[in-house]
Symmetry: C2
Subunit: 111 residues, 2 copies
């Protein structure tokens, strides 16, 4: 029970769902927006802009880093994060592909 069946799906489906999962929490969307807004890389200032504890924010950042949407480097005593635009672009275009490939077949609701 509750065995992970995710591997039974195609690579693209797994990839897309992993991307979507990264955005599946408002805090992570907020973090991405903050990172985009501040041109320079922001570190712990993110914590001050969010209603979450420092450890929680760090966890969300780790998830975004794991999916590749965010890059991080250590800058002296602090950590510097920023958006990985390349991965972001890939995500965007793959979603566009999914949407348009779906629409090719059908456009009419039947229910």
């Amino acid at each position: 029970m509750a065995i992970n069946k995710k591997e039974s799906f195609t690579g693209k489906e797994q990839e897309l769902s992993a991307f979507a999962k990264a955005l599946a929490h408002p805090a992570r969307i907020a973090i991405l927006k903050i990172l985009a807004r501040h041109n320079e890389c922001i570190c712990g200032d993110i914590v001050e802009l969010l209603p979450l504890a420092q450890s929680t924010v760090s966890q969300h950042l780790k998830e975004l880093k794991n999916t590749g949407l965010v890059l991080g480097t250590i800058d002296g005593p602090r950590s510097c994060y920023c958006i990985n635009w390349k991965a972001f672009e890939k995500f965007h275009s793959e979603f566009g592909n999914l949407f348009s490939s779906m629409k090719i077949k059908n456009e009419k609701a039947c229910c």
Copy 2:
């Protein structure tokens, strides 16, 4: 602890993350693709196309229905599902807005 902090974020952030969550599992992406591929509404044939039990597929369909991406009607003894193109379009454009609004500010990675 583990109190739900999702309400602390903006409506748009919550909405977008809810949409993303709907796509955050490969099975649900596969279901959407199946629904798009078959022009007419497909019911339990989805179960045969997926490596999941009937009850599990029904649950995923319910989630897609709850987020509004899928419509369902009862058609005699069977259920008929199809994509809610209107909601789908909204999702698509809102994601596009997020992406482009982020890119306006910055385009250069700094890490």
